[in-house]
């Protein structure tokens, strides 16, 4: 074995160690998030319930929100009104529930998540260096890159001072799941690419595909929580009394309207990039296989994912389809993306058989 190959082997080992270390740190972060939720539950929030069950009819006409939607300037004050037909409910206080201890654990969790992210990113880079190409040649590599990007996007949105701390726990849980699956079942030794994958389009097409998936995933988390929170609000508004656990969790989440808006923005923002990803893939296929579009299973499912997201965007623009119906479409669309990612690679055979499993 020559020297270069030995270095590469070393780098590959370093990458593996980093990935395992990041899993350990993510686990710590996971525990810290749990602590945040547990300590947060000791507070008496009860704001959602008050907003929805109080004397709604004589409630003040306009809610000046305490959160981000009131833009305070030196003199004139902007008063916002939520869109017609949506409940005027304030956002919950977040997992920490306004408690100091919860907040402390929340901060610890975010620091740990950041650390884990850096370690994991290091693992991805080491992997890339060991193979001297983009680290996207097989499913193991997709999976580690995917979770890194998901966490990166989450941290970036946090850094932009947007209210997304609520997504921390579900996110880290799934990242651990993703890494567990990757290391246990999808692991492939670091290696070079088969000629068909070896192209600069790999950088373009696969990086955007992974990025889109990460953002769609955040959208799906938002949508799912929206559905829960919406039922909770509806139950309260109808005079019902949700269980203690549901109340404790749900009242700390942002309002259904905020979650819905978050999910929509995230999905809409990344949809043009997803369109681009598919087109870039078609151009690459044209070069590699002599046809731009051949209804290969992977192509079919990218197309389906695209059409269902388009459907979701249309639903948002169509009266009577907003809200829960659109949310189901969004979840279905993400389901298609996920199936395209795992299912098509593993269960269907086609030209995109690079799973390495």
């Amino acid at each position: 074995m020559n020297l270069a190959a030995a270095t590469n082997e070393n780098l590959a080992n370093i990458s593996n160690v980093l990935i395992y270390s990041s899993m350990a740190v993510y686990t710590l972060a996971f525990l810290a998030y749990i602590a945040e939720w547990v300590f947060g539950s000791r507070s008496k929030v009860g704001r959602t319930a008050a907003a929805l069950t109080g004397d709604a009819a004589v409630a003040p006409s306009v809610t000046v929100r305490s959160g981000g939607s009131t833009a305070v300037l030196d003199k004139p004050k902007i008063v916002t009104r939520s869109a017609a037909g949506t409940r005027d409910v304030p956002d919950g206080p977040g997992a920490a529930g306004g408690t100091e201890k919860g907040d402390l654990y929340g901060r610890v969790a975010i620091s740990l998540t950041t650390l884990a992210f850096l370690v994991e990113a290091g693992g991805v880079v080491a992997r890339a260096l060991s193979v001297q190409r983009a680290p996207w040649g097989n499913m193991y590599e997709f999976s580690i890159t995917f979770s890194t990007v998901v966490v990166g996007v989450y941290l970036a949105i946090l850094a932009a001072k947007k209210n997304v701390r609520w997504a921390g726990l579900p996110l880290v849980t799934t990242v651990l799941l993703d890494l567990g699956i990757a290391t246990k079942w999808l692991y492939t030794d670091s290696d070079q690419l088969v000629p068909a994958l070896d192209s600069y389009w790999l950088w373009i097409h696969v990086s955007t595909a992974i990025f889109c998936g990460a953002v769609f995933y955040l959208g799906a988390v938002g949508t799912l929580l929206y559905l829960f929170r919406d039922s909770y609000e509806e139950k309260l508004a109808g005079g019902g009394e949700p269980g203690v656990f549901a109340t404790s969790v749900m009242e700390r989440l942002p309002s259904a309207a905020s979650l819905d808006k978050f999910a929509y923005r995230v999905n809409a923002a990344v949809f043009p990039l997803w369109t681009f990803t598919i087109i870039a893939g078609a151009i690459w296929a044209g070069d590699a296989w002599g046809r731009y579009w051949g209804w290969d299973p992977k192509e079919v499912w990218s197309f389906i994912t695209w059409v269902v997201y388009a459907c979701y965007l249309h639903a948002r623009a169509t009266a009577g389809w907003k809200g829960r119906k659109a949310a189901y479409l969004a979840l279905f669309a993400f389901g298609c993306w996920l199936w395209n990612y795992y299912g098509v690679n593993i269960f269907l055979s086609g030209k995109h058989s690079y799973a390495g499993v």
């Binding site: 409630a59 006409s61 306009v62 037909g85 044209g286 070069d287 209804w295 269902v308």
Partner: protein, 582 residues
């Protein structure tokens, strides 16, 4: 619709009617409307009455159907159907993708296959029902775009609507009192809004402004681009041509119909005139493979080095074709599709005369390029009695042999490390004159007899390069020459419409970005003199879709205007907002 949704729809409607004109035409999305189930109205007695009624009824229904088809809801449903309809094509093998898999499926599912055939499940994407979905969708799309475009042009030519009566009703609102005259405030507001590139004008006591028309333009561009893409694909299908050719190192190809091994073309392609005249020669094929590790044998590079010339006798140029990098000549693309080995063999007759010498392409059977095929000596051979006969050899080839005594003739590695050729020899008639097309890789043994060895068993032998197999009784010999050539298969395709399709794709992405990232919004600034002689300024904003930017933008505008019309020092705290929630 659940109760809450009905409530929400009602609330939306109430809200919109309350805003009146202000919210109208903020987009060109079609309105949802319900239409009665009968259009004919009262039927007058007599034939004329009946005809008139039938006419009204027909046109009514046609209009109803058209409105349904071009509504957003139906577009939504059709889009959803399109996504569902695409699914079976990924689960059932498709003739357009992999014919052999379809055959295997047919053999394995005898009862299911005819049903699938009837449902068009083996070619979903050209089936009647799938075509129906997308054709309806595109008709709907056109029926949607045309009126929307006109509407948009109308909106561009008209001006933003005047301020609604109560600005407090709008999603973002602010107010303050100032000593500045109302006229001055309005003038300042107009100047500011114009400077920020709002389309603005003063109506009565308020300035009305609007911005973000590019959103609508982008949206229309996106939908039109979809049509452009579909039309380009369709024309591409009609005018395309695609053929395959196997070329052995040293061999060449000229782009005429007769040279192709197989050829397909769209229904409007003119086979005699539309093929671009060019030719190429395969100088060398280079394949490298992983040498060690668990992925030993995985291909790393495939390169076909060619010399090509454009036109009948253009200048020769060298080029390298790789898997991801086709050669483009005169509008045609030459793709590298596959490769294999072609051992060179020499066949001599009983008198030692050379009757055949050629590189024989063999068909790879596994990833280590274990190959099989047939060597056919059609003419020139005479047996020891001088009688004309044909010879056939079933050939089996491995580029890397496991070693003598180590099991079967299966290749261990795709590179040429230890080539071995195994042959069975036959004589008789190859049956090639029967006029039926013959598979070049197979021997038709019906009229052939085996050569026997000394023991009377079938003659077979494994040869190393340079070795010769003698045929019994002075029937001649066959030599496996030291030279093993490689061959490559090329796909030569010509598909017009790629350029407009790409342009459409780029326009689609640009339009989409405009449609999703740009906000269309209206801002009103009202300035009136209050009862105490102090001017009351009110500002409000309205957007079409959910955006957190609207309040921020309004805040910014208000701050700017406020610096020109400062808040009046007022001891009595002005009630900022009034009114009861609807």
């Amino acid at each position: 619709m659940s109760k809450t949704e009905t409530d929400e729809a009602a609330a939306t409607a109430a809200e919109e009617s309350e805003l009146g004109e202000a919210g109208a035409q903020l987009s060109t999305a079609p309105q949802e409307r319900s239409v009665p189930g009968s259009f004919g109205g009262v039927m007058q007695p007599g034939a004329a009455g009946r005809i008139a009624w039938a006419w009204r009824e027909t046109t009514g229904w046609v209009r109803w159907f058209w409105r349904q088809l071009t509504s957003m809801r139906v577009a939504l449903i059709l889009l959803f159907l399109l996504s569902l309809g695409a699914i079976p094509g990924s689960l059932v093998p498709q003739t357009g993708v992999d014919e052999t898999k379809v055959e295997e499926f047919r053999a394995a599912h005898e009862t299911l296959a005819p049903i699938y055939d009837d449902l068009g499940l083996f070619n979903v994407y050209s089936s009647v029902w799938f075509s129906a979905i997308y054709i309806l969708l595109f008709v709907s799309l056109i029926g949607c775009i045309v009126p929307r475009t006109w509407q948009f042009v109308g909106q561009l030519r008209s001006r933003p609507p005047g301020a609604p009566g109560r600005l407090t009703r709008l999603p973002a609102y602010t107010t303050w009192r100032t000593e500045t005259d109302p006229e001055q405030v309005r003038a300042a507001a107009l100047a500011m809004l114009k400077q920020r590139r709002f389309r603005s004008h003063t109506v009565g006591d308020a300035v009305a402004a609007e911005k973000g028309y590019l959103r609508e333009a982008g949206n229309l561009m996106f939908h039109i681009a979809l049509i452009v893409m579909l039309v380009s694909f369709a024309t591409g299908q009609l005018f395309k041509s695609e053929g395959g050719k196997l070329v052995v190192e040293g061999g060449g190809f000229a782009n005429t119909l007769t040279q192709y091994d197989d050829f397909k073309s769209g229904s409007l392609f003119d086979r005699d005139h539309d093929l671009a005249p060019f030719s190429f020669k395969l100088d060398k094929f280079v394949g490298t493979y992983e040498r060690s590790g668990p992925q030993r044998g995985t291909p790393r590079t495939y390169e076909a080095h060619v010399t090509y010339a454009k036109g009948a006798d253009g200048a020769e140029k060298k080029a390298k074709i790789e898997v991801n990098e086709p050669l483009e000549v005169d509008g045609s693309k030459v793709y590298l599709i596959g490769h294999g080995y072609a051992p060179v063999v020499t066949v001599r007759d009983g008198r030692g005369k050379e009757v055949f010498k050629d590189a024989v392409p063999l068909l790879p059977m596994d990833s280590n390029v274990t190959s099989s095929g047939a060597i056919k000596v059609m003419d020139g051979y005479r047996d020891k009695n001088g009688k004309k006969e044909q010879l056939g050899f079933a050939a089996f080839f491995v580029p890397t042999f496991a070693g003598a005594g180590k099991g079967t003739m299966l290749s261990q590695y795709p590179g040429l490390d230890f080539p071995v050729l195994a042959l069975n020899a036959y004589h008789g008639s190859l049956g090639v004159n029967a006029g039926l097309p013959q598979n070049v890789y197979q021997l038709d043994k019906r009229k052939m007899k085996e050569f026997k060895d000394d023991q009377g068993a079938m003659l077979k032998q494994r040869l190393l390069p340079g070795e010769t197999m003698k045929l019994p009784n002075g029937a001649g010999s066959i030599t496996f020459e030291k030279d093993v050539k490689q061959w490559a298969t090329f796909q030569i395709s010509q598909q017009p419409g790629n350029v407009p399709a790409l342009a459409g794709a780029i326009a689609a992405i640009a339009g989409l970005a405009g449609s999703l990232f740009i906000q269309r919004r209206r801002v009103w600034v009202r300035a009136v003199r209050g009862e105490d002689g102090v001017t009351v300024v009110e500002m409000a904003g309205l957007g079409r879709s959910e955006s957190s930017k609207l309040p921020e933008e309004l805040a910014d505008l208000a701050a700017t205007l406020n610096s020109q019309a400062p808040t009046a020092p007022d001891p009595a705290e002005p009630a900022p907002v009034e009114g009861v929630r609807a």
